[in-house]
Symmetry: C2
Subunit: 261 residues, 2 copies
């Protein structure tokens, strides 16, 4: 079967870190590639698992790299969480383990939040720099008493310049262990929640969409799970050698995002 | 085979919480039973997984219940850790995730400690009320760089009046998850380290010893692992019904510690 040329899709869903930028620097050719696609009236959207930034902040960061997009063209773990509570947990009251961006996105989606974990229907866990023993104890006891544990994404750590910082999944494992109660719902790439919201936002049939990312287990797995075409870029975490190991096979392997043009 | 009468062993190893006291109160008959055994010149020792108290503090707590013992007759997860570093990790330099008692016990065993996780050969993890994001990040990066993760015990939580507080294993899971590095060594009941140190302190052959405790998976498992006789007391966590579920079969089941006499 002949492959569709990479430039011939009508919608593109781009991962960010490792695909468009690395750390604080845009990857060579990323802005040009996206601009060219946008000039051809293609849909371009951006998919991240971050829980540290609002969609506006992500949009502004991309603007800083010369990439223009609307807020609605950005999907984050937090916006998926907002949609999840709105659509699947009506009337929920959420205790937040996360920062300001989490609070802001919940408010955008009209989700009620509470500072009292015991009164919460759900605890939403993201990367929480203010995580400590007392907060952990509060959440653990709430979860034992029926509050549902929700992971904003399944990421164990987040790479930073000096190494890593703990991410959502590390907090989830701590809470699961101390409470004896397993996580109720996990959002973020590559879960079905994230995938179906992404597809809804793209307003296109999946076979017309290309998912572009540097990670097999999140980006490529997500695209494949909803029947998108998938392209692995070699500018981030995974290499060609990772493919047989992961057993996740992208339709395309590109040196970088520039290969799309 | 006829069972040895409970009072006819020459050495007794008692769990504390759920066996001798519950919360802040001695169980009915505990002090009398132990006193009677001591008057018969039996060896009595006390085995806890706590990382919050030194052996002296445990001894003083027992004294408050009318139970007299020497410091050397108390075994805690921290004293086992001290012996572990002394005997199996000579020259180690340990970063501590725990409170003052941990520091004090390490000093008793002559173990070098450091406040710099990156310079540590090991991180010893216990119940740490000052656990927070920054401490977790420091330890996670040290572990990624080769510092060995040591769990003082495998306890996921510690029961308190208002519910539970997170214990050692919750912190271990968080660190394992964020670092991608599995725990190197686990001490505490029911591990082989704890068991063999206990037996050494008892200075007796295991078939002359009775392990008495309220938990199958820690106390009874520990006793059985080194060939002691074992007695489950029904004043704590486990019931008769727990036995087939756990698949751990004590030699005796007692209503309480009083049955020993």
């Amino acid at each position: 079967m002949q492959q569709i040329p990479l430039r011939d899709f009508s919608s593109y869903l781009f991962d960010l870190d490792g695909t468009i930028y690395v750390g604080g620097k845009a990857l060579n050719g990323a802005a040009e590639t996206i601009k060219a696609l946008q000039e051809q009236m293609k849909t371009t959207m951006f998919a991240t698992n971050t829980t540290l930034y609002t969609r506006e902040e992500v949009r502004d960061k991309l603007a800083g790299f010369g990439i223009s997009c609307k807020t609605e063209e950005v999907i984050t773990a937090l916006s998926v969480a907002g949609m999840y509570f709105r659509d699947f947990a009506t009337g929920s009251k959420v205790f937040l383990l996360g920062g300001e961006a989490m609070e802001e996105e919940m408010s955008r989606f009209g989700i009620a939040v509470t500072g009292e974990a015991r009164q919460a229907t759900h605890v939403l866990v993201g990367l929480d720099r203010s995580f400590d023993f007392d907060k952990m104890t509060t959440v653990v006891n709430a979860v034992r008493n029926g509050t549902q544990l929700v992971g904003a994404n399944p990421d164990p750590f987040c790479p930073v310049e000096e190494g890593v910082i703990p991410d959502t999944w590390a907090f989830i494992k701590a809470i699961e262990t101390a409470s004896g109660v397993p996580v109720g719902v996990t959002l973020g790439k590559p879960t079905k929640y994230y995938a179906s919201y992404a597809l809804k936002q793209l307003r296109n049939s999946p076979d017309k969409c290309l998912m572009v990312g540097d990670r097999l287990d999140t980006d490529i797995a997500l695209g494949k799970s909803i029947g998108m075409h998938t392209a692995l870029v070699l500018t981030g975490v995974d290499s060609r050698e990772s493919i047989p190991r992961a057993g996740i096979h992208p339709d395309y392997v590109c040196t970088s995002i520039k290969d799309i043009l």
